[in-house]
């Protein structure tokens, strides 16, 4: 039986987040698909003391860290790839406002897999032998630390390897390219670890660039790597990953990536950024105005736009997606 799971972004944050929670997003890369606008809304609703689980840092974690909303974080990569260091995150770490537990990128994917499978531990053949194993930011006074990646004995060979702790975040906000109202979702571009995260999290909210008719999913069931049965709610929000890229949908906004990271490099800049790009819009249309209709048009006409072509016939018009959202919210 079809269920309409579309709700507003504000409602999603109100309903599924709380201070002190384990919040996961960024099952993406610093330049790609991430539910960044969900982080903006977390700030608008003044969520605090978040324990952030990000497979890799993104501009979302960079912003949340700069704003002081995150006190603990775990991730595999803490930079911005070609855009350099993540100024908001690095300042928060250096100043001791945020404690970052370091793992590798594979370790984060495996820990999510372990959470998805509800394993008590996950075999670790990476991160062992390095300070990723011996230094534990959440337990800084024990060195070498035996609790972060403890040893486990392989019962077949008798040899020792490491063991990762699985992740079961309270909520995952996951960016997808296309979703239907029931929460069946298609990702274009690398999944990074969004598949594993969608099964590991206790609750999943999707941020979708576009809403499609379920017939799209029936035509391409092998593309639907996140079925609606694991999804709590769907938020329709084009450019949810902005200023990062959404393959097939839009390119990275290079100018904003740089300006945002410069802003997050200081307290004043962060305050200005929050004023101008977090608190300044009233709704989705206001958000799109803020990005700029011309910018949106330019970024949407990138070289990967052809990746979206097969699905265009099923895209619901903007007004219809908004109407479905309104309908489900009443």
């Amino acid at each position: 039986m079809p269920t309409n799971k579309l709700i507003t972004l504000a409602e999603a944050v109100r309903r599924y987040t709380w201070d002190g929670m384990q919040y996961a997003s960024g099952a993406a890369l610093p330049v790609g698909s991430d539910a960044i606008v969900f982080g903006r809304e977390l700030l608008r609703q003044q969520r605090r003391e978040l324990h952030a689980i990000f497979h890799a840092n993104t501009q979302q974690l960079n912003l949340l860290a700069a704003a002081g909303a995150v006190t603990r974080a775990e991730c595999g990569f803490s930079g911005l790839e070609g855009f350099g260091f993540a100024n908001g995150l690095r300042r928060a770490i250096e100043q001791g406002r945020l404690v970052l537990e370091d793992f590798s990128n594979l370790a984060m994917a495996l820990r999510l897999l372990g959470g998805a499978l509800n394993w008590p531990f996950v075999p670790a053949t990476v991160n062992i032998g390095s300070d990723l194993q011996y230094r534990r930011a959440f337990e800084p006074d024990v060195h070498p630390n035996p609790n972060k990646i403890p040893s486990v004995t392989d019962p077949f060979s008798g040899k020792q390897i490491g063991a990762f702790s699985p992740l079961r975040p309270d909520l995952a906000a996951i960016h997808v390219t296309l979703a239907d109202p029931e929460g069946d979702a298609i990702m274009l571009g690398t999944e990074w670890s969004r598949f594993e995260l969608s099964r590991a999290a206790r609750r999943v909210v999707l941020l979708a660039d576009a809403i499609v008719d379920t017939d799209c999913m029936r035509q391409y069931p092998n593309l639907v790597r996140i079925p609606g049965i694991v999804v709590e709610a769907v938020v329709y929000w084009p450019f949810a990953a902005w200023p990062q890229a959404s393959p097939g949908m839009h390119d990275v906004d290079e100018a904003h990536m740089k300006a945002m990271n410069v802003a997050l490099g200081s307290d004043d800049g962060t305050a200005a950024y929050i004023r101008d790009y977090v608190e300044s819009y009233a709704d989705l249309d206001g958000y799109l105005d803020l990005i700029g209709r011309e910018t949106i048009s330019e970024l949407s006409n990138g070289a990967t736009a052809f990746l979206l072509d097969p699905y265009r016939r099923w895209l619901l018009p903007h007004a219809e997606a908004l109407a479905l959202t309104a309908e489900a919210s009443t």
Binding site: L29, G32, G79, F85, S104, N105, L106, S130, A137
Partner: protein, 261 residues
């Protein structure tokens, strides 16, 4: 022969020369990708390149990608999978032939630090670094699992230290068979390629020594830019200059001229 090339270009070409045709290779963003795609464009057309996000068969278009999920790579990939697939099934498994990683600091045993810079040793109690860096990313996984890997790093004394303050990606750890002792699957770093030359590990002690210098450098300059008593191989040699074919191939890949800045 040409002398019109930058130190960065020499480093990229020397790195690319380490990659053989047909190998399964993993490239990161930036220098590593330039060196890898240079090899593919020049002498290793059958290199099977991937990124740690599980992007297969792609060649960058429109300039150097900003990241491994950049549309400049997504535009012509034949397959997108996941980090678990690329870093797990293909790299940590020991299957990947060669990886390339960068370093903020590297030490005599090829251990790499990309986590942070502290004011002195960290000490027994872990504390925030003075300068936080980018963390491990996939480099630790490459360092643990790849059959061999290459470290690309600018040759400066502050980067070449006796012992890194934090081992983000394991080289040979304390040397000798320390890697094997902790159970690592991969073979470890086969070379450190710098802006001045190439260091390779002694087969027994696993301590890195100077294997070759570039036409524009020499053992002396290298020693004075290395923070430990670097040994010089008995048969230390000079690396051949980039050929005009090599330079042309590299510059086709480095279309935005990143290496010439």
């Amino acid at each position: 022969m040409t002398t019109d090339y930058s130190r960065q270009e020499m480093m990229a070409i020397a790195t690319g020369r380490e990659i053989r045709d047909g190998e399964l290779a993993i490239f990161g963003v930036g220098l590593s990708m330039l060196a890898g795609y240079f090899a593919q464009a020049h002498h290793a057309p059958g290199v099977r390149a991937m990124t740690e996000g599980g992007v297969y068969g792609a060649r960058p278009v429109g300039g150097l990608p900003w990241g491994i999920e950049c549309n400049r790579l997504a535009v012509n990939a034949v397959s997108f999978t996941s980090a678990l697939d690329a870093l797990g099934c293909l790299v940590a498994s020991g299957r990947c032939d060669v990886g390339i990683i960068g370093a903020a600091q590297v030490d005599r045993f090829g251990n790499v630090n990309t986590t942070g810079i502290w004011d002195g040793p960290i000490g027994e109690i872990y504390r925030p670094p003075k300068t936080r860096l980018t963390g491990a990313g996939g480099a630790n996984d490459i360092a643990c699992g790849a059959k061999r890997y290459l470290i690309m790093v600018s040759h400066e004394p502050k980067r070449f230290v006796d012992r890194v303050s934090y081992v983000t990606s394991p080289g040979y750890l304390d040397g000798g068979d320390a890697r094997e002792q902790v159970g690592l699957i991969g073979g470890g770093p086969s070379a450190i390629i710098t802006t001045l030359g190439i260091l390779r590990p002694d087969p027994q002690s696993r301590e890195f020594q100077l294997d070759a210098y570039f036409p524009f450098s020499g053992a002396e300059e290298i020693l004075s830019n290395t923070g430990w008593d670097l040994k010089v191989a008995a048969d230390v040699r000079v690396v051949s200059e980039p050929s005009s074919e090599e330079l042309a191939a590299l510059r086709r890949v480095d279309e935005t001229g990143m290496l010439r800045r």
